[in-house]
Symmetry: C2
Subunit: 108 residues, 2 copies
Amino acid sequence: MDWKSCPAALLEPVFKALAEPSRLRILCALGTECRPVTDIIHATDLPQTNVSFHLRILREAGLVRAERRGAFIYYCLPDPELLAILQSLQLWVAAHDSLASTQDSGRY
Amino acid sequence: MDWKSCPAALLEPVFKALAEPSRLRILCALGTECRPVTDIIHATDLPQTNVSFHLRILREAGLVRAERRGAFIYYCLPDPELLAILQSLQLWVAAHDSLASTQDSGRY
DNA sequence: GCTACATATGTATGTGTGCTCATACTACGC
DNA sequence: GCGTAGTATGAGCACACATACATATGTAGC
């Protein structure tokens, strides 16, 4: 990464949005498809007001797109490439998790 | 991403660790090199105890590696691939930020 | 317009977490 | 061993944020 131009300000809201279990569950529930809020509520088993709250944060972080269809509002990921990036990060973490468990990440 | 196996539990600690401005600054200060804590303190202009606190979180999230060299403890990123992944995410965010500003991400 | 449904917003509260201070640990040089 | 530099830990405080409840907005059908 171009750490010289330290993208902290740019990436921070995205990481903040991703750092919540409920929001990750919502993204999981979304998958690659577009779904109305009701579907997400059922899939995640979270209260409606809670889902709506988190969807707003994800929306403002640019991680989901909202699209009105009649009385329903469909939410979807804005770009399949986002999935690819997150997947590579997931793979990296998984690979390093098994390494880390054999190493010393304790105190000094 | 394989959202079927919902990697929330795996990714959450990583995102939590990345969701802090101070920690992102520390990672920026680290760059691709290994540096002792003192260097990081000067680079980030954060108090020593604070840097140490965040380094621990980054260490436990597997985002930095600690290595003792005499009286110093050097910290570095565990893997250059991590940089690549974060960079692609950064690029994605940057690209979608410019789009988002032209779109409606407000309330419904 | 009224009712019903889908979704969003506002307020209050409790918990988590970052920051600061003081202090303790570790390694090196004398 | 002692002092010093480098680094880590622990306690206390303040603030941000996730949750829950009540309520408002918007859309469709009658």
